[in-house]
C-alpha cells in the first residue's frame, strides 16, 4: 500500500507541474485531494493495515495531502503570473486612436437661455406661469390698462384671428390670468412665445419674452432695482450694472426702461452698444393701480413690480450671435455650436 501511495503521489506531482491553466489545476485539486480522490481512498483503506501501522500510515497520507496542496498553490501562482504576462503581451494597443463616444446633440440657444433665466428666478422662489398664445383683447390690452384706441392694437402691429381674438403681443396676459386666479403674495415669471406683425432683419414675427411679477405688501422700486441687478449679474457676470430711465407703459406707473452695461466693452463703448456703453434690456415698473382694479387686488394694501425682456435678445448677447434670423433657420452648422 505504501508503494501504491508513493506512485500515486508521484503521478500527482508530475500532473500538477505540467498544468498550464488555472482551470486544469482546479480539476487536479479535486482529482487528487477531493472527497472521492485516491488519496482519500487510502484513508478509507487504513483498516486493511495492522492496527499498529495505522497511525504512522495515516500520518504519511496526511502529510502527502498537505504537500500536494502546497504544490498546487505554488503552481497556481506561477500559472496566474504567466497568464498575466500573456495578457500584457496580447494587448498591445494604439491608445491614440479615438475613444468611443455616444453621439450628443444640443438644446437650441434660445432654450438654453430660457432655462438659465427660469433657474435664476426659481432659485429666488419664483414660480413659472404659463398661459395661452391665442388670447383675447381683454387680457392682452384692456386689463393691462391699454385703451381701445391705442396704436398697439392696430392690424399692422398685432395678429388677429377673429373678432377680439388675437395672438398675444407680450406675455403680460399671463400676469393678468395669474392675478385673477391667485391672491397675493404672488411671485412669478412668465416666459413664453409672443407675436407681432413685424418681419425684418431685426424683428421676428414670433419671438420669446419673459416677464417677472411680484405682488405683496411693501413691494417697491428698490426691490425692482435689486432684482434687475441680480438678474443681469447672474446672466452676464458680477461686474454688470443696470440702470433704469423714465419711460411709458400703460400697465406700470412709474414706468421705466432698463439698460445694462454693455457686456462686450464693459461700458467703454463699442460697435455693439453703438459707443454708448449701455444696452437696452427691456421695460419695467411698478404695477399700475388700475391693473390691480381689473384683477380685483386691493391696490391700497398691495404693491408690485413687473419687468419684461426678450429671451432671444438675451441669447444673442450671451452667445454673441449677430443675426437674429439664424435663431429660426435651424441650420446644423449653427446649432452644433451650442453643444
Amino acid at each position: 500500500m505504501k508503494e501504491e501511495l508513493r506512485k500515486q503521489i508521484e503521478a500527482a506531482r508530475t500532473a500538477i507541474n505540467a498544468a498550464e491553466r488555472q482551470h486544469d489545476l482546479m480539476q487536479l485539486k479535486s482529482q487528487f485531494l477531493g472527497k472521492k480522490s485516491d488519496l482519500n481512498g487510502f484513508m478509507m483503506r487504513l483498516k486493511e493495515l495492522p492496527a499498529s501501522e495505522r497511525p504512522a500510515f495515516g500520518k504519511i497520507v496526511n502529510e502527502a495531502k498537505q504537500q500536494l496542496e502546497e504544490l498546487i498553490n505554488s503552481r497556481l501562482l506561477k500559472v496566474k503570473e504567466s497568464e498575466y504576462a500573456a495578457v500584457l503581451q496580447a494587448e498591445h494597443l494604439d491608445l491614440t486612436m479615438p475613444g468611443k463616444r455616444n453621439i450628443r446633440g444640443a438644446l437650441h440657444p434660445i432654450t438654453q437661455t430660457w432655462r438659465e433665466i427660469e433657474d435664476l428666478f426659481i432659485r429666488l422662489g419664483f414660480q413659472v406661469a404659463d398661459g395661452p398664445d391665442i388670447e383675447d383683447e381683454y387680457h392682452n390690452f384692456d386689463a393691462l390698462n391699454t385703451p381701445a384706441d391705442h396704436p398697439a392694437r392696430d392690424l399692422s402691429d398685432t395678429f388677429y384671428i377673429e373678432g377680439d381674438v388675437l395672438l398675444r403681443t407680450h406675455t403680460s396676459p399671463v400676469q393678468i390670468r395669474t392675478m385673477e386666479k391667485f391672491a397675493p403674495p404672488i411671485k412669478i415669471i412668465c416666459p413664453g412665445r409672443t407675436y407681432r406683425n413685424d418681419n425684418d432683419a431685426t424683428h421676428s414675427p414670433c419671438f420669446h419674452q419673459v416677464e417677472a411679477l411680484v405682488v405683496d405688501e411693501g413691494i417697491n422700486i428698490a426691490d425692482l432695482r435689486d432684482m434687475l441687478n441680480y438678474f443681469a449679474r447672474e446672466l452676464f457676470g458680477p461686474e454688470i450694472a443696470v440702470r433704469i430711465r423714465p419711460h411709458f407703459f400703460p400697465f406700470t406707473e412709474p414706468s421705466a426702461e432698463m439698460d445694462m452695461v454693455c457686456p462686450k466693452c464693459m461700458g467703454s463703448g463699442c460697435s455693439l452698444c453703438k459707443d454708448t456703453g449701455w444696452l437696452e434690456l427691456g421695460g419695467a415698473g411698478i404695477v399700475d393701480p388700475n391693473v390691480f382694479e381689473y384683477v380685483g387686488i386691493d391696490s391700497e394694501k398691495y404693491t408690485g413690480y413687473a419687468f419684461g425682456l426678450g429671451i432671444d435678445r438675451i441669447a444673442m448677447l450671451r452667445f454673441g450671435i449677430t443675426d437674429m434670423r439664424l435663431l429660426f433657420n435651424n441650420d446644423l452648422r449653427f446649432l452644433r455650436q451650442f453643444k
Binding site: G105, H108, Q127, D130, D133, G163, F328, N330, R333, L335
Partner: protein
C-alpha cells in the same frame, strides 16, 4: 427616561388617558418614545380555589388539580408543589394572553388542562417564582385578580432634551404639566425631626475643590436597619425599570428619579477618621468602584475621600470600600452639586455611564441638592428607621445668584407673530415658577427659578411662552400657492435633455404654417387637425394658420440641412400646436416631435456604419415614454397618413393615443423635397401629463435567490406579432418569469418562407425560493406546449 403615571400623580392631579397625556407631553417638548402598560394581565387572571389534587399518573412532578373558578370546577395541571387543596390560587383561564403566548387547552402527558396556575413572577407581582402564588383566604373565587392587586400603571418612555435637566426627575415633569394643564403641583418639601446630637460632633467636611464642587451637603442617620424596601417603594422603582436592592439604596434611587438630583449614601464606619474631604484625585490614584472595576484616576477627576482613601468618584459612582451593606447601621447621606464639565470629563474618560453622571453632566441646581438630601432623610427614616443627627454639613461658599430676565411683548410679537396680553405672559411664566419683579410699557422683568438654568435670555422666555401657547396654535397667513406644476416642468426638461443625449438637436420654428402642409402630409378632410386657427392678417399664405402639427417644420428643417450637405442628424422640437377649440378659446397643446435620418451613430474605426431604421425611432419613443412614468403602453399599427403603410406604430395608454413613430412615407418625403429615408415620432405631451403616471418608483426587495436563464428557440408563422407571443409566454407564469428578451430573429436560409425563427432568453426568478432544474423544465414544457397549440410553432 421612564415615567410611571401613578408616580406622577403623587405630585399632580390628572386623569388624562394615556393617549392624551402622551400628546400633551410630546407637544410641550417632552417627546414620548414609547408607552407601556403594566399590570394589565391581572384583569384576565381569576381568583380560584384548589378543591382537590392528585399526583399525575405519568409524572412525578406534575399535579392534577380540580379548581373552582367561581363558576365551575375545572381541571388544571400544575407543576408547582404548593398547590395543595384548599388554597386560593391565581388562575389564567384558557385564552389568556401571557406575554408572547396564549394559554390554550392542553394535554399534558395524557391529562387535560384548562388553564394555568400562576407564580408571582408570571403575574408581574414580584420576582418570586418558587411555586404558585397563595392568595389570602378571603379572596372571592371568580373575581379578577386586579381587584386584589392593583399593579396597573402606564409607563412613558420620554426623551429629555439636554437643555432641560430639571425634567430628569418626575417632579420636573409634573411641574411642566401643571403649567401646561393648569393643575396644582405638589413638590415634596419635608420638615425633618430636630435630631439628637449635632452632626458636627460626628463628621468633618473639608471642601478643597470649590471650583468643581460648588455645594456639598451631608446629613447623618444612626441606627438604620438595612432591609428589603416596602412594597410601595419597590413598585415605584420597578415600574421605571430599576431593581430593588435595599431600603437605603432604593430611597436614594427613588429620590434621584423623583427630584432629578442624584444622591449617595456612605457607611459611616467605613469612612476613616470620620472625615469627608472633597479633592482632586492624585495622578494615577487607584479607585475600585461599586461595580468592582478598578480605575486609574487623573488629577482632573474629583473625588470624595476620607483621610486615607477616595470613597466616591464625585457625581459618577461610589467606591466599593464605603458602600451600604446589610450590616450597615450608621449612614452619611451626600447631596451635592458638581461642576458638569468635570463630571462629563471623568465619566467619558473612564467610560462609566451612570444615572448620576447623566444628570450631573447636564448642570444641576445647587439649591436642589439641599432639598434632595432632606427628602432622602425623610424617606430613609420612614423605611429604615434610625435617628437623624441634628443639622447638616453644608459647604456652599458662593450661593447662586438668581437670574433676572426682561422680556418685551413687542419682541414676542416679532418672533412668534402672536398677540398676547401682559397678563397672559405673566401667567405662563409664573406657572413655570418664574417670579415677576416689575412690568413697564413694553418690558416685564422676571426672576428665573434655580432649577431652570436654561432660561437666561429674553429669547429663552419667548420659547417657553410658545411652548405653552402651542406651536400649532399660531395662526399662519402665508399659504404657498401652487402656480406651477413643477413635476411636469421638470419632466419636460428631462425629455429634452434625454433627446440631447441621444444625439438630437433642438430646432425652434415659428408657430405659423400653411394649409398646404396638411395636404402634403395627406391629412384627410374630416381629420380633427384640419380644424385650424387662421390668422386674419398673416404674413403670407405659408404663414396663414397656427400650426396643428410640428412635423412640417421639422421636415423643412431637414430638407434645408440635406441641401446644405448634412446627411446624418436628429432633430426634435417641443412646442405648442393649435386647433380650434370650443368657443373662442383655441386648443393649445404641447407636442414633442422629432426626426432621425442617416447613420445610426458617429463614424468610428471600430464599428461598421449602420443606417437608422424603424427600431431606432421606436427605441427613442420607448425611452421617452418610460421617462414620463407611463407604464402599460399598448402598441397598434398606425393609420397616420404620413407613415409608409405598415411602418408606423401608435402608442396607447389606457386607450388614449400618447405617441406615434414610423418611417416617413417616401412620397410624403418627396413633397417636402426629401429623398432619403427619414424616421419620425410625435409625443402628445398634454395627453401624457393628464394620465396617471408613476413619478416616484416603488422600491422592491432585491431578489436574494439566483435567477435561472433558459433559451427558447422556435419557428413561427410571420403573421404573428412578437408582442402577442411574448405576452403569452409571460402569462404562462407571471410570478416566475421576470424577464423575456428577444435574442434573435432569423429569416432566410433553412427557414421556410413565410416563417421566421425567434430565439428568446427567459429569466426565471422567485422572491422566496431557489429554483431547481426540475421546476424550470416543467415551466418550459408548459410554455412550449401552449405556444405549439396556439401558434403551431416548431422548436429548433
Amino acid at each position: 427616561m421612564k415615567i410611571s403615571y401613578k408616580w406622577l400623580r403623587d405630585y399632580i392631579d390628572i386623569d388624562l388617558d394615556a393617549k392624551t397625556l402622551e400628546e400633551e407631553l410630546t407637544f410641550s417638548g417632552i417627546e414620548v418614545e414609547a408607552v407601556e402598560e403594566l399590570g394589565a394581565i391581572l384583569n384576565q387572571i381569576l381568583v380560584a380555589e384548589v378543591k382537590e389534587r392528585q399526583q399525575h399518573p405519568n409524572s412525578d412532578h406534575l399535579w392534577i388539580c380540580q379548581v373552582d373558578n367561581g363558576n365551575e370546577v375545572i381541571q388544571v395541571i400544575c407543576g408547582a408543589d404548593n398547590c395543595e387543596a384548599g388554597k386560593k390560587v391565581a388562575l389564567a383561564p384558557v385564552g389568556t394572553q401571557m406575554g408572547e403566548f396564549v394559554i390554550n387547552k392542553a394535554k399534558l402527558r395524557g391529562e387535560h388542562s384548562f388553564g394555568m396556575l400562576c407564580s408571582e413572577r408570571e403575574l408581574g407581582i414580584s420576582d418570586n417564582h418558587d411555586g404558585i402564588i397563595n392568595l389570602a383566604g378571603d379572596c372571592v373565587n371568580g373575581e379578577k385578580l386586579s381587584r386584589y392587586y392593583d399593579l396597573s400603571d402606564i409607563v412613558f418612555e420620554v426623551e429629555i432634551t439636554p437643555n432641560r435637566p430639571d425634567l430628569l426627575g418626575i417632579t420636573g415633569i409634573a411641574r411642566d404639566l401643571s403649567s401646561l394643564l393648569h393643575r396644582e403641583f405638589r413638590l415634596p418639601n419635608p420638615e425633618l425631626p430636630a435630631g439628637t446630637k449635632p452632626i458636627r460632633a460626628e463628621l468633618q467636611l473639608d471642601n478643597q475643590a470649590i471650583d468643581l464642587c460648588p455645594r456639598y451637603t451631608a446629613r447623618m442617620i444612626k441606627g438604620v436597619t438595612i432591609a428589603e424596601s416596602p412594597d410601595w417603594l419597590k413598585r415605584r422603582i420597578t415600574a421605571i425599570g430599576l431593581r430593588p436592592i435595599n431600603n437605603v439604596v432604593d430611597v436614594t434611587n427613588f429620590v434621584m428619579f423623583e427630584l432629578g438630583h442624584p444622591l449617595h449614601a456612605f457607611d459611616y464606619h467605613l469612612v476613616e477618621d470620620h472625615q469627608i474631604i472633597i479633592r482632586r484625585a492624585g495622578l494615577g490614584e487607584k479607585f475600585v468602584a461599586l461595580n468592582d472595576e478598578e480605575y486609574i484616576l487623573a488629577d482632573t477627576d474629583l473625588v470624595i475621600a476620607d483621610s486615607k482613601k477616595a470613597i466616591a468618584l464625585a457625581g459618577v459612582i461610589g467606591a466599593a470600600n464605603s458602600q451600604i451593606q446589610s450590616s450597615t447601621q450608621d449612614i452619611i447621606i451626600e447631596a451635592a452639586n458638581f461642576k458638569y464639565s468635570a463630571v462629563r470629563r471623568t465619566s467619558k474618560r473612564l467610560a462609566i455611564f451612570t444615572d448620576s453622571a447623566y444628570r450631573f453632566e447636564r448642570d444641576l441646581s445647587d439649591m436642589q441638592a439641599e432639598l434632595a438630601g432632606r427628602r432622602c432623610c425623610e424617606l430613609i427614616l420612614a423605611t429604615a428607621g434610625g435617628e437623624l443627627l441634628e443639622g447638616l454639613l453644608d459647604s456652599y461658599p458662593e450661593p447662586e445668584e438668581p437670574v433676572i430676565v426682561t422680556i418685551r411683548p413687542s419682541r414676542i410679537k416679532k418672533v412668534l407673530s402672536i398677540n398676547i396680553s401682559q397678563e397672559t405672559i405673566t401667567n405662563y411664566l409664573e406657572s413655570l415658577g418664574l417670579k415677576q419683579l416689575s412690568n413697564g410699557e413694553d418690558s416685564l422683568q422676571f426672576e428665573v427659578p434655580h432649577y431652570r438654568k436654561d432660561l437666561s435670555r429674553e429669547i429663552d422666555l419667548i420659547e417657553e411662552i410658545i411652548r405653552l401657547y402651542g406651536y400649532n396654535n399660531v395662526e399662519t397667513y402665508f399659504k404657498p400657492q401652487k402656480v406651477m406644476n413643477y413635476e411636469i416642468f421638470r419632466n419636460k426638461r428631462n425629455l429634452t435633455d434625454s433627446l440631447v443625449k441621444l444625439g438630437f438637436y433642438e430646432v425652434v420654428n415659428w408657430s405659423f404654417a400653411g394649409v398646404e402642409d396638411l395636404d402634403k402630409l395627406r391629412i384627410v378632410e374630416r381629420d380633427r387637425r384640419r380644424e385650424v386657427v387662421s390668422l386674419k392678417n398673416p404674413l403670407g399664405s405659408s404663414f396663414a394658420i397656427m400650426r396643428p402639427l410640428l412635423l412640417p417644420d421639422i421636415l423643412r428643417n431637414t430638407a434645408y440641412n440635406l441641401n446644405h450637405n448634412q446627411k446624418d442628424f436628429r432633430f426634435f422640437e417641443l412646442n405648442k400646436v393649435f386647433l380650434q377649440g370650443a368657443g373662442k378659446q383655441a386648443e393649445e397643446k404641447y407636442h414633442l416631435s422629432g426626426l432621425i435620418t442617416g447613420l445610426r451613430d458617429a463614424i468610428h474605426w471600430r464599428e461598421e456604419a449602420v443606417k437608422t431604421d424603424f427600431y431606432d425611432v421606436k427605441g427613442v419613443v420607448e425611452e421617452l415614454l418610460s421617462l414620463t412614468g407611463l407604464s402599460g403602453i399598448e402598441e397598434k399599427y398606425s393609420k397616420e397618413t404620413w407613415y409608409q403603410p405598415g411602418v408606423g406604430l401608435d402608442f396607447y395608454n389606457q386607450g388614449k393615443l400618447v405617441a406615434s413613430a414610423g418611417k416617413l412615407d417616401p412620397k410624403v418625403a418627396s413633397s417636402f423635397e426629401i429623398e432619403v429615408p427619414c424616421f419620425v415620432f410625435d409625443l402628445y405631451l398634454d395627453t401624457i401629463y393628464n394620465e396617471k403616471r408613476k413619478i416616484v418608483p416603488d422600491f422592491r426587495e432585491i431578489v436574494k435567490f439566483p435567477p435561472v436563464l433558459r433559451d427558447l428557440s422556435f419557428l413561427i408563422d410571420q403573421r404573428f406579432d412578437l408582442a402577442e407571443i411574448a405576452a403569452d409566454i409571460r402569462q404562462s407564469n407571471p410570478e416566475l418569469i421576470s424577464k423575456i428578451i428577444l435574442f434573435d430573429e432569423y429569416k432566410g436560409k433553412n427557414v421556410p418562407s413565410g416563417k421566421r425563427s425567434l430565439t428568446f432568453s427567459l429569466t426565471f426568478s422567485s422572491i422566496n425560493k431557489t429554483l431547481n432544474d426540475k421546476l424550470i423544465s416543467k415551466e418550459m414544457d408548459r410554455i412550449v406546449r401552449s405556444l405549439e397549440k396556439k401558434y403551431e410553432i416548431k422548436m429548433r
